[in-house]
Homo-oligomer: 176 residues x 2
């Protein structure tokens, strides 16, 4: 994997793909599936996300204030759904589903080598955790896998229905 400029992070998350979120607490790594996230600032990139307190990852995220957001392409869709259907409380999901944890540079949570992008994050604001389980993350370092060309992402519509990226259109834009 190679460095991805932090200024490009929003291009990964703004389209709303299903992502994986890794944490590591007490020497044990875990991974969950997440769709409730959004960009909050371009650079340094800030990301908001909701991690339910019912998720095993919640306590690790709250305690360590670190995580990795990994973006899976279509090829990982079935694993992504399986990761979302079980709890790290019961199983080692990396082993069970054959995902490849890789050491990150700035956080204890692992990267997922199988994903086409990985974002190392620290929690920078917890004011809305109590009310909504909403965390504000800062992306410290970003990685992309040059071997995965034009990855298609998946988008969750509820009840296990996912829409896959289709055609790309280019429209005149003043947006960054």
């Amino acid at each position: 994997m190679r460095d991805l400029p932090l200024s490009k992070v929003y291009q990964l998350l703004e389209p709303g793909p299903v992502v994986l979120l890794t944490t590591a607490a007490k020497g044990r790594a875990n991974v969950m599936t997440m769709s409730w996230h959004m960009m909050v600032e371009f650079e340094p990139p800030l990301v908001a996300c909701v991690v339910s307190s019912a998720n095993h990852s919640f306590a690790a995220l709250k305690a360590t204030k670190e995580c990795v957001i990994a973006v899976p392409a279509l090829e990982l869709a079935s694993k992504v759904a399986e990761v979302g259907n079980c709890s790290g409380c019961d199983v080692n999901k990396f082993e069970t589903f054959g995902l490849t944890p890789t050491p990150a540079g700035r956080v204890a949570a692992p990267l997922i080598a199988d994903c086409f992008a990985n974002l190392e994050c620290k929690v920078v604001d917890t004011r809305l955790v109590r009310s909504y389980n909403l965390f504000i993350l800062e992306v410290l370092k970003a990685w992309s896998d040059p071997a995965q060309k034009q990855p298609k992402t998946i988008h969750h519509h509820g009840y296990g229905r996912f829409v896959v990226d289709g055609e790309t259109i280019k429209l005149k834009s003043k947006m960054r």
Copy 2:
């Protein structure tokens, strides 16, 4: 347009489509393009969004604490981009781009009849507005247009590049 159950709102926003956000202040309606939003709670549906203080809509949203999130299908993509490229400070965007404002039931901000879904919202938490321009909205009432069958949404990847919904896949899920 007909009622959409509030329990189904997350299925519209969780996939991360580009949406339009309408406001009305001092008798004048406005509309902006928005991609930084996420679900926060299923029911009653809570939505987080970032509306930059550089946007003309920011002051209206902050003052009136009401808005409508309208979800456009692919057919509106060029209008959606144009709405995002100009300011309500300068133009009446509804007239300029031929979008059809329609009275909402619970808020002063208008629905957009051209969109396949409309969500009437009130601001319920402003704690993160000062730091990040991040608003928490509650969806009070939701509408869908039964005439628009299987609408495809668009997802912004930056610089006017949009990815359109492609194929749908169904995977086993315990997610709601």
